[in-house]
Amino acid sequence: MRVAKEVRDDRTVLSIQEDRIDAHNSGELKDLVLKTLEGGAQGVVIDLARVQFIDSSGLGALLSGYKNASLRSSGFALAGLQPRVRSMFELTRLHRVFDIYPSLQLALSA
């Protein structure tokens, strides 16, 4: 999975460079988020602006990140959800669980 990683202020931004998150690459995302948290990141923002499709395994990877961040008292936010992707969060009511921002800029300024 292609992911651009950078530290902005005190948070680590993982910008997904793929248009799909599915069972083929969701495991990589899960591992990357976990390694980022284990590396001491105090907050993680996942920028999903380029993602046009997410399946159940992709949601599972993000939930894993959310739970691992919570265990470490780290922040975990999602940004830039496209309408189709957001609809998956709404269908599963996970939009009530995650901190979701319309854009990366808004996520970083929160």
Binding site: R20, D22, A23, H24, F53, D55, S56, S57, L59, G60, A61, L63, S64, Y66, K67, R84, S87, M88, L91, T92, R93, V97
Partner: protein
Amino acid sequence: MCETIVNLDIVVPNQTRYLRLVGAIAEQLAKELDVKEDQRDTLAYHLNLALTEAVANAIQYSAPTDSNDTVRICLAVDDGYLSVRVFDHGGGFDLDAVPWTDLDELRERGRGIFFIRSVMDSVQYHKTESGNVLEMRKKIA
């Protein structure tokens, strides 16, 4: 072959790298269907989602020792219904035993069948001479 008026019969290796391809085929088929313009994109996404989840399940349940195993997908349009069948050669599972997902539980797995049930009108899973088949239908007209 599918015994219907219009059909696509697709066989892919049981590897997750092909999920993108089958999803794209499903989307393109949906965009060719005679449905209302404002419903076309949603139908395309739902079909992509249902097929992605179904094929991922088929790969998961296929024989783990057979690297040459394949997943067969049959997409058909007939009499106002879109029918999707996904065949696997594994041990199968009991669809009726899969409960509706408790959305208040933050489990990392277990939403695939939920998505399929949510976006399709009917879902069945049964054994045939060609293997196990997950059959999904959706009214399109």
